[in-house]
């Protein structure tokens, strides 16, 4: 119990520092066609006719923040072929556990509701686009 409290306090501290920092920098909120996904809405979201791409991230992860705008741009460029979602792994542990996610950013790719591939780590936008197009 004591350890859980400590973890909560570490997490809250990290999150607050990041939020404060983002506010200071006037960081823009994510736009594009990226839907926020939770554990509860996950299964429904992946069952689409389009290819489904889910960006799994956490607020204190720097590479995740670097990836976010690239995903956002791709969500606009590939809107007719791919459905994009983003899932906070800290708030949605079930999906992270189900897909053995242990490093972020991890991008999960689904076709006809089935998991087909994952991309781990920060990659160039064009490399991500090529990977998604290969799956279409």
């Amino acid at each position: 119990m004591e350890q859980d409290d400590e973890l909560e306090s570490i997490r809250a501290r990290k999150l607050n520092a990041l939020i404060e920092h983002s506010n200071k920098k006037g960081e823009k909120k994510m736009a594009g066609n990226v839907e926020v996904i939770t554990d509860a809405g996950f299964d429904k979201f992946i069952k689409q006719d389009k290819l489904v791409v889910i960006d799994c991230w956490a607020p204190w992860c720097g590479p995740c923040r670097a990836l976010a705008p690239k995903i956002e741009e791709l969500s606009v460029e590939m809107a007719d072929k791919v459905a994009f979602g983003k899932l906070n792994t800290d708030e949605n542990e079930n999906v992270a556990l189900r897909f053995n996610i242990s490093a972020i950013p991890t991008v999960l790719i689904f076709k006809n509701g089935n998991f087909v591939d994952r991309i781990v780590g920060l990659r160039p936008k064009e490399a991500m686009k090529a990977a998604f197009e290969k799956m279409l």
Partner: protein, 296 residues
């Protein structure tokens, strides 16, 4: 400890920045181990005016010059940087807090791959290069930290608050005395001298096989080689490196965060001494001007 300019990195870019900043009569600190610079093991033969020289000799002379002009050199590693009122606070593995008005990142590029079987296959499935990012996936699990220095010690100390068991695998532990005191009273188990031969598993990491054949059952492997990379430090200041790990700067060596400058290999190729020295000069002068509020 208060400074006008703190320089992270004591390679040629950092030392040249120190010389130029210190000559502008601002208080300068340089943090880094000269022997950790990539140049210290290199032989120079393409730098104007020097026919041949050993990198280590050149760096030692540079450090002497920087001291001569008043810069203070700390042969330590940076474990974190943060923004503060009116500037930045840099924490070292010697447990020093250095406050400054301007910061120069000159700590080179990270070369952080272990290059063993299973590393690539299990990246994201148990293998991680970022303890801060990925610690929360290892609650109540068993993990191994691989690395010798303070960066590995910091990762092990963080992971012990999440994982049930933390092993620290090192060829030879070189972390600071202060961090080692914290490690020694913790539950972290040091396995040294030892080094991984391969990472094994089935779909996800199940363990590491050490070079002596011993197997350690773990769910996660955190690879923490060398000093904390410049890209990782930059992220703490809101500066996002690109895919190649480089930080974007303008012609004044300014990053996107006000008061933070960068020079040398971290700003991108060519990874050459001449380019690092030139950028060090620009960053040093501009950081000193910024600290003295000569620029808006």
């Amino acid at each position: 400890m208060n400074y006008d300019v703190v320089i992270i990195g004591s390679g040629v870019a950092g030392l040249q920045a120190a010389i130029h900043a210190a000559r502008k009569k601002v208080k300068v600190a340089v943090i880094g181990k000269i022997e950790a610079s990539a140049l210290s093991k290199a032989h120079i033969e393409n730098y104007l005016g020097i026919e041949t020289s050993d990198g280590s000799k050149l760096l030692e002379t540079g450090a002497k010059q920087a001291r001569h002009y008043g810069a203070e050199l700390f042969p330590e590693e940076v474990i974190s940087v943060e923004m503060s009122e009116g500037g930045f606070i840099v924490k070292t593995d010697g447990m020093k807090d250095l406050a400054c008005k301007a910061l120069i990142i000159a700590s080179g590029i990270s070369r952080n791959k272990l290059n063993v079987e299973g590393e690539k296959e299990f990246y994201g499935l148990g293998v991680s290069y970022c303890a801060n990012c990925d610690c929360h996936f290892f609650k109540k699990k068993k993990v191994a930290i691989v690395g010798n220095g303070s960066n590995a010690a910091v990762a092990a100390l963080l992971l012990k608050d999440y994982a049930d068991k933390v092993y620290w695998v090192a060829k030879a532990v070189t972390a600071s005395k202060e961090l080692m005191e914290m490690v020694e009273v913790s539950s972290i188990e040091i396995i040294s001298p030892a080094w991984p031969a391969k990472i094994v598993g089935e779909n996800v990491v199940k363990g590491i096989v050490l070079k002596d054949g011993k197997v350690i059952d773990v769910d996660g492997v955190f690879i923490e080689l060398g000093a904390k990379g410049a890209a990782d430090l930059a992220i703490e200041l809101g500066i996002i490196a690109d895919e190649s790990g480089s930080i974007k700067v303008d012609r004044e060596c300014r990053t996107e965060t006000e008061g933070v400058f960068a020079c040398g290999d971290i700003t991108g190729q060519p990874w050459q001494m001449a380019k690092a020295v030139g950028e060090g000069c620009v960053a040093g002068l501009n950081a000193a001007s910024f600290a003295r509020k000569e620029v808006e």
